[in-house]
Symmetry: C2
Subunit: 414 residues, 2 copies
Amino acid sequence: MTLQEIGKNAKAAEPSLRILNTSLKDRVLQIAAENLVKRREELLKANEEDLKRARANGMAPGMIDRLALSEERIEGMAEGLKQIASLQDPIGEVLSMKQRPNGLLIGKKRVPLGVVGIIYESRPNVTADAFGLCFKTGNAVILKGGSDAISSNIAIAKILRASLKEAGVTEDAIQLIEDTSRETAAAFMKLNEYVDVLIPRGGAGLIKAVVNNSTIPVIETGTGNCHIYVDETADLTMAVNIIFNAKTQRISVCNACESLVVHEKILDELLPLLKKKLQEKQVELRGDEAVCKISSDVIPATEEDWGKEYLDYILSIRTVSSLDEAIEHINRYNTGHSEAIITENYDHAQRFLNEIDAAAVYVNASTRFTDGFEFGFGAEIGISTQKLHARGPMGLEALTSTKYIIYGNGQVRP
Amino acid sequence: MTLQEIGKNAKAAEPSLRILNTSLKDRVLQIAAENLVKRREELLKANEEDLKRARANGMAPGMIDRLALSEERIEGMAEGLKQIASLQDPIGEVLSMKQRPNGLLIGKKRVPLGVVGIIYESRPNVTADAFGLCFKTGNAVILKGGSDAISSNIAIAKILRASLKEAGVTEDAIQLIEDTSRETAAAFMKLNEYVDVLIPRGGAGLIKAVVNNSTIPVIETGTGNCHIYVDETADLTMAVNIIFNAKTQRISVCNACESLVVHEKILDELLPLLKKKLQEKQVELRGDEAVCKISSDVIPATEEDWGKEYLDYILSIRTVSSLDEAIEHINRYNTGHSEAIITENYDHAQRFLNEIDAAAVYVNASTRFTDGFEFGFGAEIGISTQKLHARGPMGLEALTSTKYIIYGNGQVRP
C-alpha cells in the first residue's frame, strides 16, 4: 500500500470515528486487550523474528531488552488498553457556552484531532498503546515504527485491526506503515493532506529529525535537563532526600535530576550530607570551583556539563550567590522540562514558580513526578517540552482539538 | 543587526516580559497609542516613501489602498492598542488546581508563549496590532513585514520602541526585521533556538510558504471555502436572508460564503427567491445539472468550482438528495473554516453540528460571525484552520501557553 492510500484510508475512517460513542470505543479496547493475550503465541513468534535479526546484527543487550516481548509484557499491553477503556472520554465535552448580545449561543466543544501520525523506535508496546490513546479520543492513527520491531508491530497491528472488525468498527482506525525505509519516513512527514499532527516518540535524534523535516504540525516530546535549586533557607534533610530520589530512583528518564544549583551559604553544610547519601548509588559529582574547593574528590565541571542530560549516575553542581543567579542559570541551561526549588522561604518559592520557564516547576518535591499517571491523567502520550498545544505530561486531552458550535435563529451580520 | 542577534535580544527580553504586571503593560499600550497619533506626520512621511515606490512599480490600486496610511487609519491603529489595553490580561490565570493523594498540589497556570514571530504582507497596521496582542500576553515579538511597507513599518516600530522605553520597559519587546529579502525570511523560519511560534498573516501563498518551510511550530490561519446547506425543512425566507448576508456583506473575507448546498426537494422553490435577492449585488451563480435545468441563466459549475474560495460576487450551488450527502460534500470540499445549516429539523441541526469538521459550525446563522470580535474575545490575531493549539478565531489566549506549578512539602516518588 502506498502512503497516499494509507492517508486516504485514514481520512475515510475519520468521519465514522469522530462520532463513535464511548461505550463502543471501550468495547473495542476490551476486545483488543483480550485478543492480544489470546493470540500471544503469534506475537511471541513474530517478536522472535525481530530478536533473531537483532542478535544477528549485534544489537546491544539493553536495546534487545526494549525490543523483547514476553507473556508478561503482552499482558502489560493488554492491561494498558483496559486502563484506557476505563478513562473518561474527553470527546464531546463542551468547555464553555456563552450567549452573545445578538442571541447567538456559542459553545466550544472538544473533538478529535482527526488523523494522528506517530513515529517511534524499537519498543513494540508503543503500537498498542498509541492505538489505544488515539482510538479512545476518536482519532485515526497511522503508525510508523522502527525497522527493528517491524515483525512484532505487524503482528500487533493485525490483532488490533481484527478486534476493530470484530466490533464492527472500521479497521483503518489503525494503520501501520510496513515500509520502514528512511525515504518513506521522510515522505510521511510531509503528508499534510491527510495527517493533522505528528508525534515522535523516542530518543533525541528521532525527535530532532521529525521537528526539522516535518511540514505537518509536530508535538515535540523532549529531553530533560532538570535542575534542583537548594535555597539558603532549605531544610537540608528534605533537600538530600529529594535530590537522592530525583537523581537515582530511575536514571534513564527525562524527569530525573541532572544538575544541582546550591546557594553558597549552605554549600559547606549540604555537600557532606549529600555526598554520603549519593554514595549509596555511587553517583559521580561534577562541581564548579567552589564545590571542588570544599571537596577535592569532586570532578571539575566543564561548560558542557551544565547543558548535559546524563541519564546516568552523574550529577553536576553549581554554586550561586542569590536566587536571581539560580533562576538565570536554570533558565539558561534547562530544556523546558521540570525544575525544583527546595526552600522554606515563601517569597523565594513564589518567585521560582513565576520566573522559571519550564513545563513543570516544583517547590519542595522531586522532579520525578512529571508524569501523566502521577499528575492523575490516567494515561500518558509523552511529555511535551514545547509551548504550543500541550505542555508537560500529555493525557488524552492532548489528542483532542475543539470546534465552535453556534446555535442561531436567523442572525446575520450587520 | 543579524537574525541571530535579533533572536538573542528577544530571548533576553523574555524573562522580564514574562513577569510584567498588567497595569504596566496597559500603560505601555496607552503611551504607544498616544505616540502614534502624536507622531503621525513622521508616519505619513514614511508611508509616502512606500507609496511612491509602489506607484513607480505599478502596484494595483487595491494593493495601494491596503498599504496607505491616513490620519484616520493612524487613529485606528491607536484605538486598536487602547482596546487591547482594556481587555482582561489572560496571563497568570490558574486554569485548574488539584490536590493529589500524596498531598502534591498541582496547578495549571497560563503563561506567555515566549517569543512570537509574525510574518505578514503589506498592511502596515499589522505592525502595531501584532505588537499590542503579543505585548499584552507577555510575549516578545519579532516582526517580518513585506518589502512594500518597509518604511512605514520601520517608522511604526520606532515609535513603539520609544514608547516602551518611555515606560521603562525593554525595547526588545518588539523587533522588526528590516531586511525584507527572501533569504532572511527563510532563515527566520528556522530560528527554532529563539522563536517559540510563528504566525503568518496574509494570503494563501504566504501561509503555504511558511507551513512548508518553517521548522518552528506554526499557527496556520487560512482560507475559507465556507458552505451554507439549505435543508429540506429550512425557513426559506431565513435562508435567503442568511445567504445574502454571508455572500455579499463583505466578499473579500475568509468567512464569506462561497458555496451553497441545497436539498433537491426545495430547490424549485428556493432558487427564484434567491436569484432575485442576489441580483441586488449581481452575484454570479454556478450550479450543478439540477440547478442549471431549472434556471438556464446559471453557469454550469465545474469540479474546480466546489473547491474554490472566490472572494468575489460568485456563488456555486450544489444539489443533494439527503443530509448525509450534504455532510459528505461539505467535509470533502471545505477548508475547515465555517459551515452553516439552515433547518427547522432538530435532529438535522444536531447531526450537522456533530458531523461537520470545521472550526465553526452554525445552525441558522451567517458564517460571517466567525470573528474574534463577534465571538466576544475583544481582539483577533487571526482565524486558525488547523486543529493544533488553537482552532477558529484566536483571541489573546491563543498567544499563551501553560505551565504546571506544583506545591509540595518533601514528596519523593516511591
